[in-house]
Amino acid sequence: MRHRDFFWFMAPSALAMILFIVVPIGSILVQSLFVEHERVLITVENCGPFGCIEETRVDTEATADLRAKEPLGRFNGVGTYLDRAHLAVDELGAILSDNDGPGDIARRLMNLPFYKALAFTLAYTFLVTPLCMALGFGVALAIDALPRASKGPVIFLTLLPYIATPLLGALVVFWMINTDGIIGATLQAMFDDPALSLQASPVLTWAMLIVWGIWHMAPFAFVVFYAGLQTVPSDTLESAMIDGANRWERVLYVTVPHLKPLAVFVGLILLMDNFRVFEPIIGFSAEANATSLSWSIYNDLNGQGGQLFGSAAATSVLTTIGVMILLTPVLIRTWRASGRRSV
C-alpha cells in the first residue's frame, strides 16, 4: 500500500487517538506538575469596643479570580509525586529506617493511600488473571463434551457475567451478599454470628472482590479457549491415545500445548483489563478496605472539597508507567520482530 493511501485511510482513526489518547497523556504529565492554588488570605484589623484584633480571612473573590486566571494551579514540580498521597518518600524513609519487622512495614505501608491502592491492584490483577484462565479452561472442556443441542443455551448462560455492565454486575452480586441479602444473611445464620459482614474485614473484602473478578472475567477466557478447542487436531489426540495416554495426559500433553498461544493472548488481555479494576470497588462500596489506582484517580476527581487535578494526574502518570511495565514483554517482542524485518 502506498504511503499516501495509507495516510488517508488511517487519518480519521489516528486523529481520534492522537487527540483523545496521546494528548490527554501529555495533559496529565503537565497537570501532575501543578497543584491547586492555596486560598488567598488577607489580614484585616477588626476593631470593637474592646480594642483591635488582627484576623486572617479567606479572600473568596481573589481566590476565585486567581483560579480562573491560572486554572492549572501553581507550579509544584515533582512535589505531588513525592507527597504523602503518592510515593510518600518521607514516610517511606521513616518506615524503612525504623520498624519492627516485615509485618510492621506492611501494616504501615497500607496506611499510605498510594501503596494501599497499588497493593490491591496488583493482588487483584495477578490473582484474578490465572484463576480466571483456569476456570475458563475448565468450563470450556466441560462444555466441549456436551451434546451439540445443549451447547447454545449453556454458552449463553456462561457469557452473562462477562456481558453484564461491570458496575451493574457488581451491584447485583453486592445486593446478594449484603447483610440483608440472601448470601449475607445465610452466612450469618450458618456461622451464627449476626455481626458477620463480608465488608467488615479487609481480608474478606479483598477475597470478595477477587472472587467477583474471576466470576466477571472467566467467560472471556472460556470463549477463547472454547474456540481453540475446536481446532485441536483429532489425529494427534488419537495417536496419543494409541500410545496409551489417558484422558488427563491427553489434555496435558496435546490440548494444553495446542492452546498455549491462545493462553498468552487471553493472559495479556486479562492483565490489561484487571489492572484497571475500578467499578467493583464502587459497586461493592469497598473503598474503606480496598482501593485501586483507578479508584484513587476517580476519588480525586470526584472529591467533595473540589477536584484535585494535580493529585489525580500524578496517580494517572504512575498508573501509565505501571501499564508500560505490564506491556514490556510485548513491546520487546515487537521491537525484535521489526528489527528482523528490516535486516
Binding site: M1, D5, F6, W8, F9, M10, P12, A14, A16, M17, F20, I21, V23, P24, G26, S27, I28, P71, D144, A145, L146, V154, F156, L157, L159, L160, P161, I163, A164, T165, L167, L171, W175, M176, I182, A185, W215, V223, G228, S234, R247, P261, M272, F278, E279, S294, I297, Y298, L301, F309, A312, T319, T320, V323, M324, L327, V330, L331, T334, A337
Partner: protein
C-alpha cells in the same frame, strides 16, 4: 460433538464430574441475575429482608403494602419519578453514535493496517495495544481540565467523541485481523483494472466485509453501553446515561424504597443487553475468538 469417534468420547465418571462442575458454574453465573430480576418486583422490605431471604421469594411485605405479591413500584419510581427514561434515551444516542462512528473510522484504518507490510503499520498496532491497556479513568483525568476550559464539558457529543477514540484501538485490532482474512487479490485485481485504492475498497472490499463489521460493531456497542468511568465524569446531570444514573440512585439519601429504584433500573439496563447477546451469540463468540485463533 457428534463427530468424535466413540473411543474418544468421555468415559462415564469423567462425564458425570464434568456435568456436575458445569451445573455448579451455571448456577453461579446466572443465579444473581435471575434473583435480581425476581426481586425487582418486590418491595425493599422483602428483597432486603432482615428476617429471612425466603421473604424475597414469597413477598409477604409486598403483599401487605401493595395488595399483590408483585409490584411495579420500583420501575415506576425509577422510570417516571426519577426520569430514568431520559438516561435511557441518552444511552441510545451515545451507543448508536459511538458504534457508527467507531466502525467508519475503524474500517478505514483496519483495512489500511491489514494491507500495509511496513514497519510503521506494526508500530501503530503496538501503540494501539498500549492505548487499549490505558485505564480509561487516567485519560479522563487528562480531559477534565481542558474540557472545562473549552466549555465542552457535560454534553453528549463530547462523551461520544471520547468514547469513539477510546474504542479505536480495539476496533482497529479486530478489523485488522478480519481484513487479513479477506484475500488481497480481491482489491488488488480491482486496482489492476484501473480502480484507485479507495475505489477498490468501496467496490471490492465493502461488499464482503459485513460479517466482520457487525461483530466488531457489537463490541463497540458493548463498550459504549457498559462504560462508567467516561460517562460518569464527562456528563452533567441532565445528560447522564443509564449506568452513572443508577450509581446516582445509590448516592442520594436513602429514602424508603429508593434502593428498589436502583434494582429496577439495573434490571431495565441489563435486560436489553442479554436479549442482544441471545440474538447475536454466535457472532459474539466468533468475534471474541477472531483475533485470537488466528494469532
Amino acid at each position: 460433538m457428534s463427530d468424535i469417534p466413540p473411543h474418544l468420547r468421555p468415559s462415564t465418571p469423567v462425564h458425570a464430574l464434568a456435568i456436575g462442575f458445569l451445573a455448579v458454574w451455571l448456577v453461579v453465573a446466572a443465579f444473581p441475575f435471575v434473583w435480581t430480576l425476581w426481586g425487582s418486583f418486590k418491595v425493599e422490605a422483602d428483597f432486603f429482608s432482615r428476617s429471612s431471604w425466603w421473604n424475597a421469594v414469597t413477598g409477604p411485605a409486598t403483599e401487605r403494602q401493595t395488595g399483590n405479591a408483585f409490584t411495579l413500584a420500583g420501575y415506576e419510581g425509577a422510570w417516571i419519578e426519577r426520569e430514568f427514561w431520559r438516561a435511557a434515551l441518552n444511552t441510545v444516542i451515545v451507543t448508536v453514535s459511538v458504534t457508527a462512528i467507531s466502525l467508519v473510522f475503524g474500517t478505514l484504518g483496519g483495512y489500511a493496517l491489514s494491507r500495509s507490510t511496513r514497519d510503521y503499520a506494526a508500530w501503530i498496532l503496538v501503540a494501539a495495544l498500549v492505548f487499549r491497556a490505558m485505564p480509561h479513568i487516567t485519560l479522563v483525568s487528562g480531559y477534565l481540565l481542558p474540557f472545562f476550559q473549552l466549555n465542552i464539558w457535560g454534553v453528549l457529543p463530547t462523551a461520544i467523541v471520547v468514547l469513539v477514540a477510546i474504542n479505536q484501538p480495539f476496533t482497529l485490532w479486530m478489523l485488522h485481523s478480519f481484513f487479513l482474512s479477506i484475500p488481497k487479490d480481491i482489491d488488488e485485481s480491482a486496482m489492476v483494472d484501473g480502480c484507485t485504492r479507495f475505489q477498490a475498497f468501496r467496490l471490492a472490499v465493502i461488499p464482503v466485509m459485513w460479517p466482520g463489521v457487525i461483530t466488531t460493531g457489537l463490541f463497540s456497542f458493548l463498550l459504549a453501553y457498559n462504560d462508567f468511568a467516561v460517562t460518569a465524569m464527562l456528563l452533567n446531570q441532565e445528560n447522564q446515561t443509564m449506568v452513572p444514573k443508577i450509581n446516582s440512585f445509590l448516592g442520594t439519601v436513602q429514602t424508603q424504597g429508593s434502593i428498589m429504584y436502583a434494582v429496577a433500573a439495573t434490571v431495565s439496563a441489563t435486560a436489553p443487553l442479554f436479549i442482544l447477546v441471545m440474538v447475536f451469540q454466535r457472532r459474539i463468540v466468533a468475534g471474541l475468538t477472531a483475533g485470537a485463533v488466528k494469532g
